[in-house]
C-alpha cells in the first residue's frame, strides 16, 4: 500500500511502494494488452487533471487511465504567466476539494507546487510533473517497461543522456532506479548538467561512450529548442553530433540494451531515426506502460482497505 496521501515524487516513496506500484502496473498492462478498457476500480470516484503547463501525452494518459477504471474525469487547463496569474493555486485547490474530487493530477511549471497543493487539499494529489523537480509517473512507466523486459532492475545500468539540468524525468528516474538497485549514469553538455546529482547517487560521465558503455538501457531526454536560444549549445546540429545517440554510440551498450525516450522525441537530435526505429527501441511500449502505471497509481491511492 501507499503510505502517504499523495504521490508528489519518487524521492518520497519507499522501494516497497515503488515495487507495489510496478507490480500492480504490470497487471494493468496485461489487461490493456487484452484490450480490456472497462474496469471498476475507480467507479464513483472523481479525478481532475489540473494542468498549468501544456501537455498532450501525459494528460491524455492520465485521463484514459482514469476513464478505463470508470472514474469521472474533468480536465482543467490553466493558462498562466507570472504576470497574469488569476486565482491562486491554494484557492483553486480548496475549490476542487469542495467539489468532492478524490484525486487531483497536477502539472505545474514550478517545482514544489504539488506539495503546496497536497498540503492544502484533502484529495489525493498526483504530481504529473513540477518544474525541474519530479515527474514520478514518467519514471514509473520507464521502470515498468524495464521490469517487464528484465524481471528485476537490480544490478542493471541505465544511461540517461540529454538535457539533465531541466529534466524532472532524469531526477525521478534517478530516485526510483537507485531505490530498486539499478545504477544510473548521466551525460549532458556541461551547460545542461546541474550540480549535486552525484551526491544523489548518479554516476556523472564525461562522454557519451563512457555513459553508454555496457549499459542495459539508454535513455534520451528531450532537448528543447529554447535551450539553443538561451545559449546552452550552439545548434541542434552540433548537439546531435557531439551529444546525441546514434548507432555508433549505441554499439557501446549491451547488445540487447533498451532504447528509451520520454517523448516527444526530436528525430535526429537526441536520438537518430535509426536508433528510434531500431529493434531495441521500446519508445512506443513506454506509452502503454504509461497508461498502465497511471492506472496503478490512481487505484492504489484511492483503494479502500476493508479489514
Amino acid at each position: 500500500m501507499i503510505h502517504s496521501k499523495d504521490i508528489v515524487g519518487l524521492y518520497e516513496l519507499s522501494a516497497e511502494e515503488i515495487d507495489e506500484l510496478l507490480t500492480q502496473g504490470l497487471a494493468m498492462k496485461k489487461l490493456l494488452r487484452q484490450n480490456i478498457k472497462k474496469l471498476p476500480h475507480l467507479m464513483g470516484k472523481s479525478v481532475t487533471t489540473l494542468f498549468y503547463e501544456n501537455s498532450t501525452r501525459t494528460r491524455c494518459s492520465f485521463e484514459l487511465a482514469a476513464k478505463y477504471m470508470g472514474a469521472h474525469v474533468v480536465n482543467l487547463s490553466v493558462a498562466t504567466s507570472s504576470v497574469q496569474k488569476g486565482e491562486t493555486l491554494v484557492d483553486t485547490g480548496k475549490t476542487l476539494d469542495a467539489m468532492r474530487n478524490d484525486v487531483i493530477v497536477i502539472r505545474h511549471p514550478v517545482g514544489g507546487a504539488p506539495k503546496l497543493l497536497a498540503r492544502t487539499v484533502k484529495a489525493h494529489v498526483v504530481n504529473a510533473g513540477d518544474g525541474m523537480n519530479e515527474h514520478p509517473s514518467q519514471a514509473l512507466l520507464d521502470m515498468l517497461t524495464m521490469r517487464e523486459h528484465w524481471g528485476s532492475l537490480k544490478g542493471k545500468t541505465v544511461a540517461i543522456l540529454g538535457d539533465i539540468r531541466h529534466s524532472r524525468v532524469a531526477k525521478s528516474n534517478l530516485y526510483g532506479l537507485t531505490k530498486l538497485g539499478a545504477k544510473v549514469r548521466m551525460f549532458a553538455p556541461r551547460t545542461l548538467m546541474p550540480q549535486g546529482l552525484d551526491t544523489m547517487g548518479a554516476e556523472i560521465c564525461s562522454s557519451r561512450e563512457e555513459a553508454v558503455e555496457g549499459a542495459d538501457a539508454v535513455m534520451g531526454l528531450r532537448i528543447q529548442l529554447e535551450r539553443q536560444h538561451a545559449g546552452n549549445f550552439p545548434s541542434l546540429g552540433e548537439y546531435a553530433r557531439f551529444y546525441g545517440v546514434n548507432d555508433e554510440i549505441l554499439k557501446y551498450a549491451k547488445k540487447d540494451a533498451l532504447v528509451m525516450h520520454p517523448g516527444p522525441v526530436n528525430r535526429g537530435v537526441e536520438l537518430t531515426s535509426a536508433v528510434i526505429d531500431g529493434e531495441n527501441s521500446v519508445i512506443e511500449d513506454q506509452v502503454l506502460s504509461g497508461i498502465a502505471v497511471r492506472m496503478s497509481i490512481l487505484f492504489l491511492l484511492t483503494k479502500e482497505e476493508i479489514a
Binding site: 507570472s82 496569474k85 491562486t88 493555486l89 491554494v90 505545474h108 511549471p109 514550478v110 517545482g111 514544489g112 507546487a113 506539495k115 503546496l116 513540477d130 518544474g131 525541474m132 523537480n133 519530479e134 524532472r168 531526477k171 546541474p194 550540480q195 549535486g196 546529482l197 551526491t199 544523489m200
Partner: protein
C-alpha cells in the same frame, strides 16, 4: 531617567554601571548614581542598536507593513535607529516621499527612522534621482535596493554625485543576466528541488565592480547583505589594499544554509539566496576579522498572500527586525566568535559610522539610545508574537538566546517587555 545595575557594553569592555540620561543624552555614567531608576540587574545594555537596511513598505504596500508597525517591530527588536530602503510605491526617489517618511516617523515617535533614497528615478537605472533634494529632506544614503544599477557608467556617476552630498551608495549586488530568474542558490539544493538557481558569481561580479569603481574614483562604497564566501574574500582583499569599502551581512546568512529550502519553504526565499555551509562560515569569519563591518536584518516583511504560493511566485524576503539581535547573539557572541563589544560594534557602532549617524556608543554626551537584553534567556521564535505585520520567517520554532527587554531612544523608554 536612570538605568541601574546594568552590565554596560562599552568600547573598553563590559562594566557594571548606572546610566543617567538627561535631555535625551547620556549625562552620567557611574558605578552608583543616586535616584530612582529602572532596575537593570541581570541585563546587558548595548548602545541602541542600528539596522541600516530595512523595508517599511510605506507608502504603497501597507498590507505588508507600515511605518508604525515597522517601528514597533524595530523597538521590540532593540533598535533605536533604522534606515528604510526606497522600494516603496511611489519609489523614494524624490524629496516628497523622503519627507513623507521623515514626517510619519516623527508622528509615530518610536525609533529614529532614516530614509534611503533611490539612486535612479523609479529604480529604473536610467536617470539619477534627485539626490541632493533627498539629502536635504533627510535621506542618509542612496541605494537601488533589490537590484544593481545595470549601467556601470551611471553607477560611477551616482557614486561621484552622491559624494558631493556626503552620501554613500549602498549596493545590492546582483548581475541580473546571470540570475536570469533564479530563485535559490545554485548547488545541490537547487537540483534537489528543481528550482532555478543562481551562482555566486551573480553576486560577486557586482561586488567586484563596485569595489573597482570605488577604487578608481577614490570614493567609499557600501556592499549590502554579503552572502558568498567569494564575496567576503573580494571585500577582504579590497580593504587590504586600502579601498574604502564597507559591508554588511544579515543574520540569515550566518545562521542558515540553502538546506532551508529543501521543502520549498517560501519563508526561506530571500535575495541574495541562502547559500552553502562554506559561505555561512566565511560570513562569520568575515565578521570576526573585520571584513564585514556590520549586521543588518534586511527586514523584508510580506503578507501571507505573498508567501503562500508556488516558490517562484513567492516574494523574496525575511521579516527580520525581531530576530536579528537574538540570532546575532546566539550565532556570534554566545558561540565565542565575537565579544560583546564587537557585537555592539557590528550592530550599532559601525552602522552609525558608515552612515554618519549620531549614536552607536555609550558615553557621556552621546544620544541616550540604549538597548537592554537578558543574554541568558532562551526563547522560541514565534511569528505570531511579532509586532511586525510580516510574519514571514524561516526561524519559526527555533530556539535562540538573548532577549531584548528594554529599548530607550533619546532618553525615553520606547519598548519594555511586559514582565510576567
Amino acid at each position: 531617567m536612570i538605568l541601574k545595575h546594568a552590565d554596560v557594553v562599552t568600547g573598553g569592555g563590559v562594566k557594571r554601571l548606572d546610566i543617567r540620561a538627561e535631555n535625551g543624552r547620556i549625562a552620567e555614567l557611574a558605578p552608583e548614581i543616586e535616584g530612582e531608576g529602572i532596575d537593570c540587574r541581570g541585563l546587558t545594555v548595548f548602545p541602541g542598536l542600528i539596522d541600516m537596511h530595512v523595508h517599511l513598505r510605506e507608502p504603497g504596500f501597507e498590507k505588508k507593513e507600515n511605518i508604525e508597525s515597522g517601528a514597533r517591530a524595530a523597538v521590540k527588536g532593540g533598535f533605536s535607529q533604522i534606515c528604510c530602503m526606497p522600494n516603496t510605491e511611489p519609489v523614494a526617489d524624490n524629496k516628497v516621499v523622503v519627507s513623507y517618511i521623515v514626517n510619519r516617523a516623527r508622528e509615530v515617535g518610536l525609533c529614529k527612522i532614516h530614509p534611503i533614497g533611490a539612486i535612479t528615478v523609479g529604480q529604473r537605472g536610467e536617470n539619477l534621482a534627485a539626490i541632493g533634494a533627498m539629502k536635504a529632506a533627510g535621506a542618509v544614503a542612496i541605494s537601488e535596493d533589490g537590484k544593481s544599477v545595470v549601467k556601470t557608467s551611471l553607477m560611477a556617476n551616482a557614486m561621484q554625485y552622491a559624494a558631493d552630498f556626503g552620501l554613500k551608495c549602498l549596493c545590492h549586488c546582483e548581475d541580473a543576466s546571470l540570475v536570469d530568474g533564479g530563485v535559490v542558490h545554485e548547488g545541490y539544493y537547487s537540483t534537489f528541488t528543481g528550482l532555478k538557481g543562481s551562482i555566486r558569481a551573480a553576486e560577486d561580479i557586482i561586488i567586484a565592480r563596485e569595489i573597482c569603481l570605488a577604487e578608481s574614483l577614490g570614493l567609499p562604497v557600501h556592499i549590502c547583505h554579503v552572502s558568498t564566501y567569494s564575496g567576503v574574500q573580494l571585500i577582504r582583499e579590497a580593504k587590504a589594499r586600502g579601498v574604502r569599502v564597507t559591508a554588511e551581512t544579515c543574520p540569515h546568512y550566518f545562521t542558515l544554509t540553502d538546506a532551508a529550502i529543501a521543502e520549498f519553504d517560501t519563508n526561506a526565499k530571500v535575495n541574495p539566496p541562502l547559500r552553502e555551509e562554506r559561505d555561512r562560515l566565511a560570513v562569520i569569519e568575515g565578521l570576526r576579522d573585520g571584513t564585514i563591518d556590520c549586521i543588518a536584518s534586511d527586514h523584508a516583511p510580506h503578507h501571507e498572500d505573498d508567501k503562500n504560493v508556488e516558490f517562484n511566485y513567492a516574494a523574496f524576503g525575511i521579516s527580520g527586525l525581531e530576530t536579528s539581535f537574538a540570532l546575532s547573539y546566539t550565532q556570534l557572541a554566545a558561540s565565542g566568535a565575537l565579544t560583546l563589544p564587537a557585537l555592539a560594534e557590528k550592530m550599532s557602532g559601525a552602522p552609525a559610522r558608515i552612515l554618519g549617524l549620531e549614536g552607536g556608543k555609550i558615553e557621556v554626551g552621546a544620544p541616550a539610545d540604549l538597548t537592554a537584553a537578558d543574554l541568558n534567556e532562551t526563547w522560541t521564535v514565534d511569528p505570531k508574537e511579532f509586532a511586525s505585520k510580516g510574519k514571514n520567517t524561516p526561524f519559526a520554532g527555533r530556539e535562540v538566546r538573548g532577549r531584548v527587554k528594554l529599548t530607550v531612544v533619546d532618553g525615553a523608554v520606547k519598548y519594555e517587555e511586559k514582565r510576567a
